[in-house]
Structures are given as structure tokens and as C-alpha cells.
């Protein structure tokens, strides 16, 4: 009984800040919209922290995620035909025909 009473009390004692009047709601929405706009403008002005002239290592062919596309496609097919999992392999997929 004490537990129920405590729950009831806690429900009744909801802080008034949770009950936004319409004007406060509008202000909150406005603030959120402003924050989103600022975030987007900030995104638009992000300075690349790795400058183009610092990407020599990343441009090395050994750093490619898929240096041999013909081999990658075949390897994915080998696994997809023998495993239950599929997808998120960076390719558009294709007919399996593995029955």
C-alpha cells in the first residue's frame, strides 16, 4: 500500500516545468529550429581537418576498401550462398540463384 501511495504521490508531484503553456511550446520549437539551423550552417562551414595535401597516404591504392572489385564480388557471393547473413557489403547485390 505504501508503494502505491508513493507512486501516486510521485505522479501528482510532476514538476510544473513539464506542463508547457502554448507560448512556452512555441518558444521551445523556435529554439530547436534555431539550433537545427545553426547546426546545419555549422556543417556547411566545417573546415576539413585533413587537408587535401595531407591525404597522400589515404590516396595510396593499398588504402582502397575495394581494390579488386571483381574479386570482392565473387568473395561476397561465396559467403552469401553458404551463410544465413546477407547485406551491408557495400554492393548493390544481384541474383543469387543458389538453390
Amino acid at each position: 500500500m505504501a508503494k502505491y501511495a508513493k507512486r501516486e504521490r510521485s505522479t501528482n508531484m510532476r514538476p510544473t516545468a513539464y506542463r508547457h503553456p502554448p507560448a512556452a511550446c512555441a518558444q521551445l520549437r523556435g529554439a530547436l529550429a534555431l539550433a537545427a539551423l545553426l547546426a546545419l550552417s555549422a556543417c556547411g562551414n566545417i573546415e576539413p581537418w585533413v587537408k587535401p595535401y595531407e591525404r597522400e597516404a589515404l590516396a595510396d591504392p593499398i588504402m582502397s576498401f575495394d581494390p579488386h572489385p571483381i574479386s570482392t564480388a565473387y568473395t561476397h557471393h561465396v559467403f552469401e550462398a553458404r551463410e544465413g547473413a546477407r547485406g551491408a557489403l557495400g554492393s548493390a547485390g544481384g541474383g543469387c540463384g543458389c538453390n
Binding site: V50, L58, Y74, T75, E83, R86, A88, L89, G94, G95
Partner: protein, 439 residues
């Protein structure tokens, strides 16, 4: 009107077209998931338009299309009583630095006497699969639009897939985001013995369809001047005849509980899966690369799978040689309706004994080498390499037993009653030999 404004107007149109194309793609689909996505897409239309506009209008520098290249590969898989080998040829060509087309021809020549074939009492069979793929990429600013089509044909299976994708470079090319959609349509047939010729013919009374939808989003990110990472999410949903018409489940024989009988599997007609993958590659100071990856997979059939991979690429000084070694670990839990041995026929609504739906682990070790035999141009070829890769894959099944032991005669010392046979496992060798030329 200045050139910049013209570009901006073009980009706005591009954005609207991109957003509408995505919505159209969703709208054309009829599956329950697609309908939900369609509703979601409609409700998010303003956001999609704004996002696309934001992405496209952030173009400052041109993106990059893949290099012109041609590859010719011979592949051979051998393991578990199955041998599959054949060629694959891929050609990609750019035009006017804005368009890129590619074509791929792939062939499997299969000879199979797998444990499933042996357990069913059938004899070794041979078949072929041919696959053609075509793709078209269009680069505008930092946005790449891609369309592709794949057709795969066997005597008893046909599959077609259309794909659309869009990718965008952002933030000084530190980030690339991409999204894509594929629609597949398969036709499942089966072959039967021809009483006249004794050979096998396609059963004219059996033809079933499968519709497939795939939705992808991904982001790749340059994190430091030596580290790049990529995150990808893909949702695939299938609807139709998802069984293999030849595969059977086994159940305890009512007249002899040490033996089993077989019946055609029954699968649900829908399946939706979610996969998310994170991959990263790191450049080591002495010019080598370290790659790691993880993929989490789950689906509505109750399968959960984790895939871990680690790879190392090592160019040998200034020689034309590059060596690779990698390890991949795959761990899967079974589908809800999978059992190695059912207590009786028609025990439940759905029944499967496909080992790809069982609980198992696989380990793959790869070694490979590439040799650049043209490094500084020769005629119209800028660069060319010869490559060889060898994979050793070990499959260890945890609830798929080797039923051949209970098919033996009772008097055979190797005989084991159904349900207490040794667990099945096998090793496979995969060889790839290919030549690549850039022009």
C-alpha cells in the same frame, strides 16, 4: 545570370529530382515494409527535399568516377563435395569525366555431390549459372547517381535485380554519404526426371516467384590522415517462395526410431533482415595497410550473425609485389524453425534443415599476392597486374549432424542412430586468379 547561380539552379533541380526519385522508388513498392517506408517517406518528404538540396548545393569541387579498367578472373571453389568454377570478366569505362559504364559477365559451373544430395539419395549433378550485370554512373558536382541491372540464369532459377544509388561527397571530401535501393524478381523452378529420355527436364507444373527489396544507407569518413572508416546499414525484405524446392527436412521414422525419413521443407513466405557493418582501414607508416571490420546481422527468422574480419596489406618495398593476408570469423545462430531432426512429419508450420540456417561458425584464412607487370605505361595500358588469392574456409556446424551415418546398415560398425550422428563440418578451398589492367 552568373555561372554560380546557374549551377545553384541546376543543383536545386537535382535535389528535387533526387528526392522525388527516392520517393518514387518507395512508392512503387508493394510489400508491407515498403508500404511503411512509403508512408515514412511521404511524411519526411520536406526533410528529404531539404536534405537532398543541402547535400547537392554543398558541391564545390568535382567528385571522382572509378578508374577505367578491365579484369578477367578464374575462380574455383572446392569443398563439402561441391566444385564450382568459372570465369568472370569486368570492364569499366568513363566518358567525358561525367559518365561511367561497366559490364560484368560471370559464370558458375557446378558439380555437386554435397551432403544434402547424398542424404536425399540423389546422385551427383552438374549445372551452370550465367550472370550479366550492367551499370551506369553519372557524376554531377560531388553527387554520383548510379543505375544497375543484373540478370542471373540457371536451368531452374532466374533472377533479375534493378538498383538505384546516390552518393555525395561532403565537408571538403572528408565524408561520403550514400543511399540505394534495389528491386529483385526471382523465378524458382525445379527439374524432374524425364521418363522418355531418362534425363532431367524443367517441371512444367512448378513455377514460383520471389520479390526482393533492398534499402541501403552508408557513410564513409576520413578520420585522420591515416585512417578511414565506413558505416553501412542495409535492410532486405523478401516475399514469395523462399524454399529450395529440392531440399528436405528429416524426421524420426515412426516404424524405426533409429532411422529417419524425409519431407519437403516448408519456409515462411516473407523474410526481412537488417545488417549493419563498420569497416576501417589504417595506413601504417612503413607503407602497409591494416583493415578491420564488424557486421551485425539479424532477421525475422530468428537468425543472428556476427562477422569479424582483420586484414593486412604489405607492398614489398619498391618491387612490383603486394602481399595480403586476412582472417574472417563468422558466428551464426539458427533460424527459429530449423531443426536437425524433427520428432514427426508436419510437426510445426514451418520446418527447415538447411545447414545455412543452422547454428555454426566459420573461419576463413586468406593469403594473396599481386604482381604489377606494367607499372609505367605500355601502349594504351597505364598499369596492369596479375593476382592470386587463396582462401581456406572451415565450417563447423553445431546442430547439423552428418546423416550419412544413420543411413548405413545397422550392422556397419560406423552406424549411428538418427539424432546421435557426429556433427558435420567441412573445409573448402577457394582459388582466384585474375589479371587487371587500367587504361
Amino acid at each position: 545570370m552568373t555561372g554560380d547561380r546557374l549551377q545553384a539552379t541546376g543543383d536545386s533541380k537535382n535535389a528535387a529530382v533526387a528526392a522525388d526519385l527516392l520517393l518514387l522508388v518507395f512508392a512503387r513498392c508493394a510489400s508491407p515494409v515498403a508500404r511503411r517506408l512509403k508512408r515514412l517517406a511521404c511524411s519526411l518528404r520536406p526533410v528529404a527535399c531539404s536534405l537532398s538540396l543541402f547535400l547537392v548545393s554543398s558541391s564545390v569541387f568535382g567528385g571522382v568516377l572509378p578508374d577505367d579498367r578491365a579484369d578477367a578472373l578464374y575462380h574455383r571453389y572446392e569443398g563439402g563435395g561441391v566444385t564450382i568454377h568459372g570465369p568472370s570478366v569486368l570492364v569499366r569505362k568513363k566518358m567525358a569525366e561525367k559518365y561511367s559504364i561497366s559490364a560484368n559477365y560471370y559464370m558458375d559451373m557446378v558439380t555437386s555431390a554435397s551432403i544434402d544430395v547424398e542424404t536425399s539419395g540423389a546422385s551427383e549433378y552438374k549445372e551452370e549459372r550465367k550472370q550479366y550485370s550492367f551499370s551506369f554512373d553519372y557524376l554531377r558536382g560531388k553527387t554520383t547517381y548510379s543505375l544497375s541491372y543484373t540478370n542471373s540464369e540457371e536451368n531452374d532459377y532466374e533472377a533479375e535485380t534493378f538498383s538505384f544509388g546516390i552518393s555525395q561527397d561532403l565537408f571538403g571530401d572528408l565524408t561520403t554519404i550514400s543511399m540505394g535501393f534495389s528491386k529483385g524478381a526471382d523465378v524458382v523452378m525445379r527439374t524432374i526426371s524425364d521418363p522418355g529420355s531418362g534425363g532431367r527436364i524443367v517441371d512444367p507444373s512448378f513455377e514460383q516467384d520471389i520479390d526482393r527489396w533492398s534499402y541501403r544507407v552508408g557513410v564513409s569518413q576520413i578520420l585522420t590522415k591515416n585512417l578511414i572508416a565506413a558505416l553501412e546499414l542495409e535492410v532486405i525484405t523478401d516475399e514469395g517462395y523462399l524454399n529450395n524446392p529440392y531440399r528436405t527436412y528429416r524426421f524420426v521414422r515412426p516404424d524405426d526410431e533409429r532411422k529417419f525419413a524425409l519431407a519437403t521443407e516448408i519456409y515462411p513466405r516473407t523474410r526481412t533482415s537488417n545488417a549493419v557493418a563498420l569497416n576501417a582501414k589504417y595506413f601504417l607508416s612503413y607503407r602497409a595497410a591494416l583493415q578491420g571490420g564488424y557486421r551485425f546481422f539479424t532477421d525475422t527468422w530468428g537468425i543472428r550473425a556476427d562477422t569479424y574480419s582483420l586484414g593486412y596489406t604489405h607492398p614489398l618495398g619498391n618491387t612490383p609485389w603486394v602481399f595480403e593476408v586476412s582472417y574472417r570469423f563468422y558466428d551464426q545462430s539458427k533460424a527459429d524453425f530449423y531443426r536437425d531432426l524433427f520428432d514427426r512429419a508436419d510437426q510445426q508450420n514451418f520446418m527447415a534443415r538447411d545447414k545455412e540456417l543452422s547454428t555454426f561458425k566459420s573461419h576463413t584464412l586468406r593469403i594473396g599476392a599481386s604482381y604489377e607487370f606494367v607499372r609505367n605505361g605500355q601502349g594504351f595500358i597505364k598499369k596492369a597486374s596479375a593476382n592470386a588469392f587463396f582462401d581456406r574456409i572451415s565450417f563447423d556446424y553445431e546442430d547439423f549432424r552428418d546423416a550419412r551415418f544413420s543411413m548405413l546398415d545397422d550392422s556397419d560398425p560406423e552406424f549411428r542412430p538418427a539424432g546421435s550422428e557426429p556433427l558435420y563440418s567441412f573445409d573448402a578451398n577457394v582459388i582466384q586468379i585474375f589479371v587487371s589492367a587500367w587504361f
